[in-house]
C-alpha cells in the first residue's frame, strides 16, 4: 500500500520537475520570433544592399547574381565584379544611395571581397543541394520568401526548419528518406 503511494509520489515529482524544466525551454522558445534560424535583427551588412531595388524594381533574375544555383549545391554569392559591372556607371540618385555605391566601388578598387553577413543557413549536418530544387521548379521565393520586397536582408522570415522542409517534400511527393539530406 505505502509502496504504491511512494511510487506515485516519485513519478509525480519527477514529472513536475521535468515539466518545469521543459516549461523553461518552452518559454525561451516562444520569446523568439517565428524564425528559428536564430539570426537577430541587429545584423549589420557591410553595404546596405536592397533586394527590393535590384530584384524588385529592376527585375534582375535571382540567378544573374546567385550564379551557381542551377548547377551546384551552393547558390553562390555574386563576385564583386558582378556588382561593379553596373555600378561603375550607376552611381545612385540620392546621397544615401551614393554613399553605399561608393563603398562597392571602393571594394572593387582595393580588389577586396565584400564580407556579407550570412542570413540564410541550414545546419552544417544538412546537405541542401540548390540545383536539385531549381531543377524541380521550386521557385526561389518559396524558401527565401518574397525577396523582391525585402530591403536589406537582416533576418530570416521563413521557418527553414526540418519540419517545414519535410512538409513540402510530402506535398510534392518526393523522398522523405533521412539520408537524402543527412549524411
Amino acid at each position: 500500500m505505502t509502496k504504491r503511494w511512494i511510487g506515485a509520489l516519485i513519478v509525480a515529482l519527477a514529472t513536475l520537475g521535468s515539466l518545469v524544466f521543459v516549461q523553461t525551454q518552452d518559454s525561451s522558445e516562444t520569446q523568439e520570433p517565428e524564425a528559428t534560424n536564430g539570426a537577430t535583427t541587429d545584423v549589420v551588412q557591410p553595404i546596405a544592399f536592397p533586394h527590393n531595388v535590384h530584384a524588385g524594381i529592376d527585375r534582375i533574375d535571382c540567378q544573374y547574381c546567385h550564379f551557381s544555383a542551377e548547377r551546384s549545391v551552393d547558390a553562390g554569392i555574386p563576385p564583386v565584379r558582378t556588382c561593379i559591372g553596373c555600378h561603375q556607371i550607376i552611381g545612385g540618385t540620392d546621397e544615401r544611395q551614393q554613399a553605399e555605391i561608393a563603398k562597392v566601388r571602393e571594394y572593387w578598387t582595393n580588389q577586396e571581397p565584400i564580407p556579407w553577413v550570412r542570413i540564410y543557413k541550414v545546419a552544417d549536418h544538412v546537405h541542401f543541394p540548390h540545383m536539385r530544387h531549381i531543377a524541380a521548379q521550386v521557385d526561389c521565393a518559396e524558401c527565401h520568401g518574397p525577396v523582391q520586397e525585402m530591403g536589406v536582408l537582416a533576418e530570416v522570415n521563413q521557418p527553414l526548419s526540418m519540419g517545414w522542409c519535410v512538409s513540402c517534400h510530402i506535398e510534392r511527393d518526393v523522398s522523405r528518406d533521412c539520408s537524402v539530406c543527412h549524411y
Binding site: 525551454q25 545584423v43 554569392i77 556579407w116 546537405h127 528518406d177 539520408s179
Partner: protein
C-alpha cells in the same frame, strides 16, 4: 521543433536527470560571413569540384594522379585511370600526400642559421646568400633524391655553370638489380616487369606490393595474374625468403630459406631448367655447379621442393624477382644476377620482363655515391653542399660518418620543405614547394611521359618557392644564364622538343592536351627483346654472405609498407595511424620475432628488448610473427625521427643505426642485410598500439577459401552447400508471418516491408562484392576512405585503448604459416567494412533512430540524431562501427596526444562529407555522398545513373581491383554478375542472419582446404 520536443520530453520524464543538456536546435548564434570572389576564376563553380591531372611525387614510381580541388583547395588525390602505371589506383602514401601538402610543420619561409637557430629571412636575401655562398665555396655538390627529368637536367646544368656537381642518392636503391642487368645483358637499367603476363611468379624477397620499384603497377598486374578468372585459371606465386613481407603473405607457397641463400635456389632452379647448365650460355659452368641436392643444406630447403619449383617455373610464361632491398646483402648483385640467369634460361626476358623498355627513374643510385661525396668532403675540396629531396642524416646508418662529414662542410643548404634531421644541421633553408603546388614532369618508360602541374596556389601559410625557380634565379645572380627565366619556361622549352617529335605543329594545343589528360604516350617503347646472356665481367660469389656479429639472429631492416624508406614524409597522422599491413601496429616500432624463438627467450608480445650490433642499439617492443625464420628478426624503417614534425617525432626507432655503412662491392648499393643482432630483454613491457584482435579464425567461417581443384570441379555451385540456406524472416503481414529468404542482397526489402519508397522497384539497392582472391592487404583503401570521409585520427593512446576510427579494417588471418619448412602458405586478407546488413543488429537498438535502413539499401547514420549510447557499436557483430570519444577535428587536441586538425590540415577536409564531433557514431556509408551526388546530377541532367558511375573511394583506390560496387537490382551491373560467382559468400550470415549487402568472393588456393567452412 515541437515534434522533437515531445519525444525528448518523454525521455526526460523517464530519465529524471534533467541536467542542462538542452536542445539548442539549428540556431546560428555566431555570425558567419559569406566571402564572394572579387573576380571569379573561370574554372571554379562553388560547390563543384575541379580536377587536375598531375603526377604523384611520393616515390619514384611516378603514378599519374587526378587531384580534386574545391574552391581552389586540394581536398583529395586519386589515380589517373589513363596512366599506364597507376591505372586509376593509388597507394596509401599517394593519398597521404594531401597531409604532406598541409603539413603544419612546413617551413614558413626561407631560414638562415644565426646563433645556432634557424631564423626567418626574406627570399631575396636567401637567394643572395645562396649565390654568395656558392661563389665563395668554389666547388659545391648537390645531393638529391629522385626528381623528374626536367628538374634533373636543370640541377645538372646549374651545377655545371656554377662549378659543382650533382649526386643522386636513393635510400632504397636497388643498385644490385641494375648492376646485375648490366653484367648479364649489358643493360645498365632496371627492367620493366610485366607480372600480368606471367603464369607463375617467384619472388626471392622483392616486396613488389609495398615499396619496390612500382607497387601500384605491380599490385594491379599481380591481382590480374593471380586472381582466378572465369575460365578457372589462376597464376601461382611462390615466395622464397627468410621473412614474409606483406608481399610474401600473398604467396601460395613459401620457401623459408636461410638468410642470404637466394642465389643458391635461383641457380639450382636454373640448373634444372637449363639441363644442368647446357642452356645457360656463358653461365653454363656456374649453373652446372649448383644442383637442388647440393644447395639443399645451405638453403634449408629440401631438394625436391626446389626441383618441383623449377619444373613449374619452366612450364609457362613465368617471372622471377630478385631479393629486393630488405634482402640486399653483401653478395646482392650476384643474387640478382642469379635471378637474371634464371629468367633467361626460362625464356622470360622479353616476355615478362623487358630490359629494352626499362623503368626510367627507378631508384638505383646507391650508397657508393655518398661515399664518394664523403671522400671529397674529407679532401676539403667541397665548399658547399646543397640537399634536395633527401634526408641523408636519417637515411644513412650512423656508422657511415656522414653526419661528421656533413657538419664539416662550410656552407650547407637545404631545399627541404619541412624540417628534418638534415636541415637541423644546415645553414640556409630555401623551402621547396610540395609537388601538388609545383611544375614538373615524369618519364616512367621510354616514350611514356606525364606532366606534373600545380593543382592549387601555394598554401598561403608557407612562403615557398619551387627549387627550379630558385636555381634559375641564383644562377642569374651568379652571372649565369641557364636559358629560362622560370622553371615553367624551362619545362616548356624541354617539352617543345617532345612535342616536335610527335609532329604536332601547335605546341600550345599539345601542351593543353598533355595537361588535361595527364599522359603523353609517344610510343617507341620496344618490348619483346630477348636479351642474350653475356660473359660476366666481374668476379662473382654466389654463396651466402658473411654476417657480422655473434649469435645466430640475423637482423633484417626492411622498407616499411607505410613509409618506404621513411626518411621523409612521415609527419602524417594518416600514415602513422595506418595499421601496418603485416603487424597491424600503429605509431611505434616493433621487432618481429618467431614465436618459438620468443618463447625460448621468455619473451611475449609487448616485451621491450634492446637490439644491439657493433654499430648501435635500439630499444623497442617484440611482436611475435610466425612468418619469419626462427633465426631472423626484422625491424621496419621509418621510425625514430627527431625534429621531423610534431606527429612523427618520438615514434619508434630508426633501425638503420644498427647497420654497418657498407656499399655492396659490385653495385654500390647500401648493404641492408649484413649483421646479426643480440636481443636483450629489459624486463619492461608496453601495450602494443595495434588494432589486431585475433590472428586465427577459431573455426568461424570468416574467410573461408576454396581450393582451385574444388572450384573447377563444381561449375554450378549450389548455394545450399555453402550453408546459405533459406532463412525465415518475420516480415509478412506487417511483421507477423515468416517469409522465406536466402538473405541475399538482392532479396531486400523482404515482402511485408515493401511500403512507399521501399516498395518501388525503381529504387536501387546498393551492394558490393570484394574479391578476396585479389585483395593483397595493402591498405590503400583505408587511407583513401580516411581522406574521402574526413575520418579522424585519434592518436596512439586511443588506438591502444581500441578506439581507432578506421572505417575499413584489413583483417589478416593465418591459416598455414610455417617457417620451419617449405610448403603451402595461406594467409587470408579481408577488408572489413560496414556490411550494410539487410537485417542489421545495430538498427533496432538505437533509441533515437539515428541509424536505419534506407530504401536504397544503405545502413545509414544520421549524425545529428546520434546521442552516443553506443548500443549499435555493441550490437554490431562485425565491430565496424566507430565512436568519436572526443572531438578530433579542432585546431587544438582536446587532450595532449589526441587527434586534431591544426591549420592547415583542416583544409584537407572533404566539404561533401559532414565533419563529426564527439559523441557521434560513424561507419562506412558506402560513400553515400558520392551516391547522392550522382543522383543529384542525374536528376538535374535528366539522365539515368549508369553502372560504374558511382565508385566509392575504396574501390576507386584499390590497385588490385578487388572491390566492385553498384546497384544489384540492375541485372546487367558488374556487382549483380559478381554475386553469381561460385565463390561468393557473406561473412557469418548463416550463423547470425544479418543479410549483409557486402558479399565476398572466397580466396582460391592451390592446396586443399576444407570446403564450405574455413
Amino acid at each position: 521543433m515541437s515534434d522533437g520536443l515531445k519525444r525528448r520530453e518523454f525521455l526526460k520524464v523517464l530519465g529524471v536527470s534533467g541536467a542542462g543538456a538542452g536542445m539548442v536546435g539549428c540556431s546560428t548564434e555566431s555570425v558567419e560571413k559569406l566571402m564572394p570572389y572579387v573576380v571569379p576564376p573561370e574554372e571554379i563553380t562553388p560547390g563543384v569540384a575541379t580536377w587536375y591531372a598531375s603526377v604523384c611525387g611520393e616515390c619514384e614510381a611516378g603514378c599519374g594522379m587526378w587531384v580534386r580541388t574545391r574552391e581552389g583547395r586540394v581536398v583529395k588525390v586519386e589515380g589517373n585511370p589513363d596512366h599506364p602505371v597507376s591505372g586509376g589506383a593509388l597507394c596509401s602514401r599517394g593519398h597521404s600526400s594531401v597531409q604532406g601538402l598541409y603539413n603544419p610543420d612546413r617551413f614558413t619561409g626561407p631560414m638562415a642559421r644565426q646563433n645556432g637557430e634557424l631564423q626567418p629571412i626574406s627570399w631575396d636575401e636567401a637567394e643572395q646568400r645562396l649565390a654568395d655562398g656558392l661563389a665563395a665555396a668554389g666547388q659545391h655538390l648537390t645531393l638529391t633524391g629522385f626528381a623528374g627529368p626536367s628538374m634533373m637536367t636543370l640541377m645538372e646544368s646549374f651545377a655545371r655553370a656554377t662549378g659543382g656537381g650533382v649526386v643522386r642518392f636513393d635510400p632504397l636503391a636497388d643498385a644490385p638489380l641494375r648492376e646485375a642487368g648490366r653484367i648479364a645483358f649489358g643493360r645498365n637499367v632496371v627492367p620493366w616487369y610485366d607480372i600480368e603476363e606471367a603464369e607463375m611468379l617467384v619472388s626471392f624477397g622483392a616486396d613488389f606490393l609495398e615499396s619496390w620499384l612500382s607497387p601500384v603497377r605491380d599490385a594491379r598486374a599481380f591481382s590480374r595474374m593471380s586472381g582466378v578468372d572465369e575460365r578457372g585459371s589462376k597464376g601461382r606465386f611462390v615466395f622464397v625468403g627468410s621473412r614474409l613481407s606483406l608481399t610474401g603473405q600473398n604467396a601460395d607457397e613459401w620457401l623459408p630459406i636461410q638468410p642470404g641463400s637466394e642465389s643458391l635456389v635461383a641457380l639450382a632452379m636454373a640448373n634444372v631448367i637449363s639441363g644442368a647448365g647446357a642452356g645457360a650460355g656463358p653461365y653454363r659452368d656456374i649453373v652446372n655447379a649448383y644442383t637442388p641436392e647440393n644447395v639443399s643444406e645451405a638453403t634449408g630447403i629440401p631438394a625436391e621442393n626446389i626441383r618441383e619449383l623449377a619444373i613449374q617455373f619452366a612450364e609457362g610464361p613465368s617471372l622471377a624477382l630478385g631479393p629486393g632491398v630488405a634482402g640486399q646483402h653483401r653478395n646482392a648483385t650476384a643474387a640478382n644476377l642469379a635471378v637474371a640467369v634464371l629468367n633467361s634460361v626460362a625464356g622470360n626476358v622479353g616476355r615478362t620482363l623487358h630490359y629494352s623498355a626499362p623503368q626510367l627513374n627507378a631508384p638505383a643510385f646507391g650508397y657508393s655515391g655518398v661515399e664518394r661525396v664523403m671522400q671529397l668532403i674529407g679532401q676539403g675540396v667541397v665548399g658547399a653542399v646543397m640537399i634536395h629531396g633527401s634526408n641523408p642524416i636519417y637515411a644513412l646508418p650512423a656508422s657511415s660518418g656522414f653526419r661528421a662529414a656533413f657538419e664539416s662542410v662550410p656552407f650547407k643548404v637545404s631545399f627541404a620543405s619541412s624540417p628534418d634531421e638534415t636541415t637541423a644541421l644546415c645553414d640556409l633553408v630555401l623551402p621547396d614547394r610540395h609537388f601538388l603546388e609545383s611544375w614538373g614532369d615524369s618519364a616512367v618508360r621510354p616514350g611514356s611521359w606525364a606532366i606534373q602541374q600545380p593543382a592549387m596556389r601555394p598554401v598561403p601559410h608557407f612562403d615557398t618557392r619551387q627549387t627550379g625557380d630558385v636555381l634559375l634565379s641564383v644562377a642569374s645572380l651568379m652571372g649565369q644564364d641557364l636559358g629560362a627565366a622560370t622553371f615553367h619556361d624551362h619545362l616548356q622549352s624541354r617539352w617543345q622538343t617532345v612535342a616536335a617529335s610527335t609532329g604536332t605543329a601547335d605546341f600550345e594545343v599539345f601542351w593543353q592536351e598533355a595537361l588535361k589528360s595527364g599522359v603523353v604516350e609517344l610510343g617507341g617503347s620496344q618490348t619483346g627483346v630477348a636479351e642474350q646472356l653475356r660473359q660476366p665481367d666481374r668476379a662473382l660469389v654466389f654463396d651466402p654472405p658473411d654476417f657480422d656479429g655473434p649469435g645466430d639472429l640475423h637482423l633484417m631492416v626492411y622498407p616499411s609498407s607505410r613509409f618506404g624508406h621513411g626518411s621523409q614524409n612521415t609527419n602524417r597522422p594518416w600514415l602513422l595511424e595506418l595499421p601496418d599491413p603485416v603487424s597491424k601496429i600503429t605509431w611505434h616500432s616493433w621487432v618481429e620475432m618467431h614465436p618459438d624463438r620468443a618463447a625460448a627467450m621468455g619473451l611475449r608480445n609487448g616485451d621491450m628488448v634492446i637490439l644491439s650490433t657493433d654499430n648501435g642499439s635500439v630499444e623497442l617492443p617484440v611482436w611475435t610473427y610466425p612468418g619469419i625464420r626462427e633465426n631472423v628478426v626484422a625491424v621496419p624503417m621509418g621510425g625514430g625521427h627527431e625534429g621531423a614534425g610534431r606527429f612523427s617525432d618520438g615514434n619508434g626507432v630508426n633501425p638503420l643505426d644498427l647497420l654497418p655503412a657498407e656499399s655492396e662491392a659490385l653495385s654500390g648499393g647500401l648493404v641492408h642485410f649484413a649483421t646479426k643482432v643480440t636481443v636483450t630483454p629489459t624486463g619492461e613491457r608496453r601495450a602494443l598500439a595495434t588494432i589486431s584482435g585475433s590472428d586465427v579464425q577459431s573455426n568461424r567461417p570468416i574467410t573461408p577459401a576454396v581450393a582451385l581443384s574444388a572450384l573447377t570441379a563444381e561449375a554450378d555451385h549450389a548455394e545450399e552447400e555453402d550453408g546459405n540456406g533459406p532463412l525465415q524472416e518475420l516480415q509478412g503481414v506487417g511483421g507477423f508471418v515468416p517469409v522465406e529468404t536466402e538473405g541475399r542482397p538482392q532479396d531486400f526489402p523482404l515482402e511485408g516491408a515493401q511500403h512507399g519508397e521501399y516498395g518501388d522497384p525503381e529504387t536501387p539497392r546498393w551492394a558490393m562484392t570484394i574479391d578476396l582472391d585479389k585483395c593483397t592487404g595493402c591498405s590503400a583503401c583505408v587511407t583513401a576512405c580516411q581522406s574521402e570521409n574526413n575520418v579522424a585520427w585519434v592518436g596512439e593512446s586511443q588506438v591502444t585503448m581500441g578506439r581507432d576510427m578506421g572505417w575499413i579494417r584489413l583483417e589478416r588471418y593465418y591459416e598455414a604459416v610455417d617457417a620451419s619448412h617449405a610448403g603451402p602458405l595461406d594467409v587470408r586478407f579481408m577488408p572489413m567494412i560496414c556490411q550494410h546488413c539487410g537485417n542489421a543488429p545495430c538498427e533496432p537498438v538505437c533509441p533515437v533512430y539515428a541509424t536505419y535502413h534506407t530504401p536504397d539499401g544503405i545502413n545509414t547514420q544520421v549524425y545529428n540524431r546520434c546521442v552516443g549510447t553506443r548500443y549499435c557499436l555493441n550490437n554490431c557483430p562485425y565491430k565496424v562501427r566507430v565512436y568519436n570519444w572526443y572531438t578530433y577535428t579542432d585546431e587544438e587536441p582536446v587532450r595532449e596526444g589526441l587527434g586534431h586538425a591544426p591549420e592547415p590540415m583542416n583544409w584537407a577536409f572533404n566539404p561533401d562529407v559532414t565533419v563529426r564531433e564527439n559523441g557521434i557514431m560513424e561507419k562506412c556509408s558506402f560513400c553515400i555522398h558520392r551516391i547522392r551526388g550522382a543522383q543529384d546530377r542525374a536528376a538535374v541532367e535528366g539522365s539515368v545513373i549508369q553502372d560504374g558511375e558511382i565508385i566509392p573511394a575504396c574501390q576507386q583506390s584499390c590497385p588490385a581491383e578487388a572491390i566492385v560496387f553498384g546497384n544489384i537490382r540492375d541485372t546487367r551491373s558488374r556487382v549483380a554478375q559478381s554475386v553469381e560467382s561460385a565463390r561468393v559468400y557473406r561473412v557469418l550470415d548463416e550463423l547470425i542472419n544479418t543479410q549483409p549487402a557486402v558479399s565476398y568472393l572466397k580466396k582460391v588456393t592451390f592446396h586443399d582446404v576444407e570446403s564450405g567452412e574455413h
